[in-house]
């Protein structure tokens, strides 16, 4: 693990030496996020988002544990207990708004983190395992976020649970039985609410465990960097502490500023008004929409409107799950040895199209299902699948990458106006 020039942990005080012999926990921290972890010197701000995601999870766990002390997971009183948190619990409004908006912040930084990985080829060898574990974390987050949204037991909670568990009824033959088994009834009710609460409390700790594996797997090859070129020597790296702890401190400040602006000045901006109406199984909302972070996947689901061999609903469900599961195969779909899109002009162009495509899917997912929006959604969904399953493997074979810098240090010096062997060779 790590590079030969990594600094070694050398405790000076007798107490720390004693601790290091019995339980080398400080050594572990030193090697993981301290001076013992050499990191490429050229990371840009997109490399802040891993730490921010970890911070967001920590904040969610802290606010969530305190909220669970006041929340009552019972369909008869859940909605009222949330209102009691908002009105009668000391700083309860702060805890709840921090938790609800914290979920949005968590998903936001994770989406940027994933986009960073796609752009700079962080999913490629030797970091496939880091990527695979990352997709597992993303799936766990989605499950946790969905179940958390059900807990306030508002109209969108109830009908969202109804729609999402309805996916399982698309499975041929056994679908309806599976749906009833998952819900513990024919429709979401107390049994479903209780199990969702139990799992919503459990899964963040599972996520934390997988994050430890994610970081462990990352530390074997070390971090990727904007050039995608391997670290060649000591001059290419700086110790994580103090260099990246200082940079991450600044990143945390900016993150907290955005987060605080949401909590204190626009806490309901990302929520849906219908969730301030108590769940009512007899009254279906005019538009059932998930939270913003699920909208692109919801758009894919809604785009499959034609029965072809199997029913349209089953196509939609397969496509929606498939749109995420295909990420597991990404390291093998993209066979290009070049990591960073900065040196892959064609891939870069298609990736930028994909970014706008996902934003368009997000718009369609939340918009009214009129003909124009359905057409947009169908085209955007088709591009999404074509991008990963057809275009990407083709581009990897046909593309001629731009010349790579010989090393990270060379790329850095070139950026700062120094001459480089590559430039000299061209001249």
């Amino acid at each position: 693990m790590s590079f030969p020039w990594a600094k070694q942990y050398e405790p000076k005080q007798p107490l720390m030496r004693w601790l290091d012999e019995k339980l080398p926990l400080p050594r572990l921290v030193y090697n993981a996020v301290g001076a013992g972890y050499p990191v490429p010197r050229n990371l840009n701000y997109f490399w802040n988002f891993g730490v921010l995601a970890g911070l967001a999870l920590t904040l969610q766990i802290v606010t969530g544990i305190v909220l669970a002390m006041h929340y009552a997971a019972n369909a008869g009183v859940a909605f009222e207990s949330v209102e009691q948190i908002m009105r009668d619990v000391n700083a309860g409004w702060f805890l709840r708004y921090a938790h609800a908006n914290g979920a949005s912040m968590f998903l936001l930084v994770v989406y940027i983190h994933i986009a960073r990985g796609l752009y700079y080829g962080s999913y490629k060898a030797p970091r496939e395992m880091v990527w695979l574990l990352g997709v597992v974390i993303f799936l766990l987050m989605m499950a946790t976020a969905f179940m958390g949204y059900v807990l306030p037991w508002g109209q969108m909670s109830f009908w969202g649970a109804q729609v999402i568990t309805g996916f399982f009824s698309a499975i041929p033959l056994v679908g309806e039985s599976i749906r009833i088994w998952l819900l513990g009834g024919y429709a979401p009710d107390n049994a479903a609410l209780n199990r969702f609460f139990s799992l919503h409390y459990l899964l963040p700790f599972v996520t934390a465990g997988v994050i430890i594996l994610h970081i462990w797997a990352l530390h074997i090859p070390g971090s990727n960097n904007p050039t995608g070129v391997d670290v060649k020597g000591e001059q290419d790296t700086v110790p994580f502490h103090p260099y990246y702890t200082a940079k991450d401190g600044f990143g945390v400040g900016v993150f907290m500023l955005v987060f605080a602006a949401l909590i204190f000045f626009s806490p309901n901006l990302l929520g849906h008004p219908d969730n301030y109406i108590e769940a009512n199984p007899l009254s279906t909302p005019a538009h059932i929409v998930p939270e913003w972070y699920f909208l692109p996947f919801y758009a894919i689901l809604k785009s499959f409107t034609a029965d072809f061999i199997i029913p349209a609903k089953l196509w939609g469900v397969l496509a929606m799950f498939g749109s995420i599961l295909l990420l597991f195969f990404l390291p093998w779909l993209d066979s290009s040895p070049v990591r960073s899109a900065n040196y892959r002009p064609k891939y870069r162009a298609f990736l930028i199209v994909l970014l706008f495509d996902v934003l368009l899917l997000g718009y369609v997912g939340g918009a009214e299902a009129n003909a124009r929006n359905v057409i947009l959604g169908q085209i955007a969904s088709a591009y999404y699948f074509a991008h990963f399953l057809i275009i990407l493997p083709m581009v990897a074979r046909s593309e001629r990458p731009r010349p790579l810098p010989n090393s990270i240090t060379e790329a850095v010096l070139e950026k700062h106006g120094g001459t480089s062997p590559a430039k000299t060779a061209l001249a």
Binding site: V238, K247, L257, I263, F308, L389, I390
Partner: protein, 280 residues
């Protein structure tokens, strides 16, 4: 092998989407969606600019108290306020004695049981009680209101899009149904027992116009009670009932942002300082 499977799966999804797209386009051409009365005549509320808006927004207690008076004298006949307690009124500037008096004199009493016989009974409200519902249950509420259920108002301004402005627009938006609407959509004529209101989602609302004449409420502070003024005041009151901690939230937010700006600036300085000798 991976590549071949990937092409096949990709082509399957793209192919099915192409079939679906063909279906969507051909049905959109063969029978284009006709505009509905809701799409053409529904109006969006305009901003009423309450003092609780904005970064430094605070409740104007005098206005919120006037709104409470409107709720008490007009809305409370049908609408409950079940998440708000009488004691909460202290937050909008009523003294302890005033809160006690308001609770004590509230027309609808608190359901309880007779301690001697165990039979259902009522008692006078005390400050720790929540506002009692005007109807004992949903069936009674519907029976008294032409089968419509008057919704609870505690969270109304958060439970509708643009809720604060919506409440004001709805209360002042009653008008005769436009002749053009009936001409264009003969089927959309407001049914008997409903009332035309372009701010309501389906244009026809069961609630009869609650604010009908200027001076309907005699404001204790002497403010001229026009319909618009009463609608504004009750919107302000319902903003408070939905978000009673708004003032504290804004104040804490300003302090937090100032703290975080200083924190972030210092972090940026530390970052620049640590990296000053390293090109990156």
């Amino acid at each position: 092998m991976v590549r071949l499977i990937s092409y096949l799966v990709g082509l399957a999804f793209v192919g099915v989407l192409a079939i679906a797209l063909f279906g969507t386009v051909s049905s959109a051409i063969s029978n284009p969606a006709a505009e509905t009365a809701e799409e053409e005549f529904h109006l969006h509320p305009h901003d009423i600019g309450l003092s609780s808006n904005g970064f430094f927004g605070r409740f104007d207690n005098r206005q919120v108290q006037r709104g409470f008076q409107v709720y008490k004298e007009v809305c409370a006949a049908c609408h409950s306020l079940k998440y708000v307690a009488f004691r909460d009124l202290a937050e909008i500037g009523y003294s302890e004695a005033e809160v006690k008096a308001i609770a004590n004199q509230w027309v609808i009493e608190q359901p309880t049981i007779n301690p001697e016989t165990g039979e259902a009974a009522t008692r006078k409200n005390v400050p720790s009680d929540r506002f009692p519902s005007p109807f004992p249950n949903e069936i009674a509420a519907r029976a008294a209101n032409n089968n419509a259920l008057p919704p609870d108002l505690s969270l109304m301004t958060k439970a509708r899009h643009d809720g604060v402005n919506y409440v004001h627009a709805l209360l002042t938006g009653y008008r005769p149904q436009p002749a053009a609407l009936v001409r264009e959509f003969p089927g959309a004529k407001t049914p008997a027992g409903l009332h035309y209101n372009p701010y309501f989602a389906n244009l026809n609302i069961a609630m009869p116009p609650p604010l009908t004449s200027n001076g309907q409420v005699a404001y204790a502070d002497g403010t001229n009670a026009t319909i618009d003024q009463m609608a504004r005041d009750v919107s302000a009151f319902l903003t408070w009932t939905a978000e009673p901690k708004l003032g504290a939230r804004h104040a804490a937010g300003i302090a937090t942002l100032v703290f975080l700006l200083i924190f972030t600036f210092l972090c940026w300085g530390a970052y620049q300082n640590v990296w000053r000798d390293v090109k990156h």
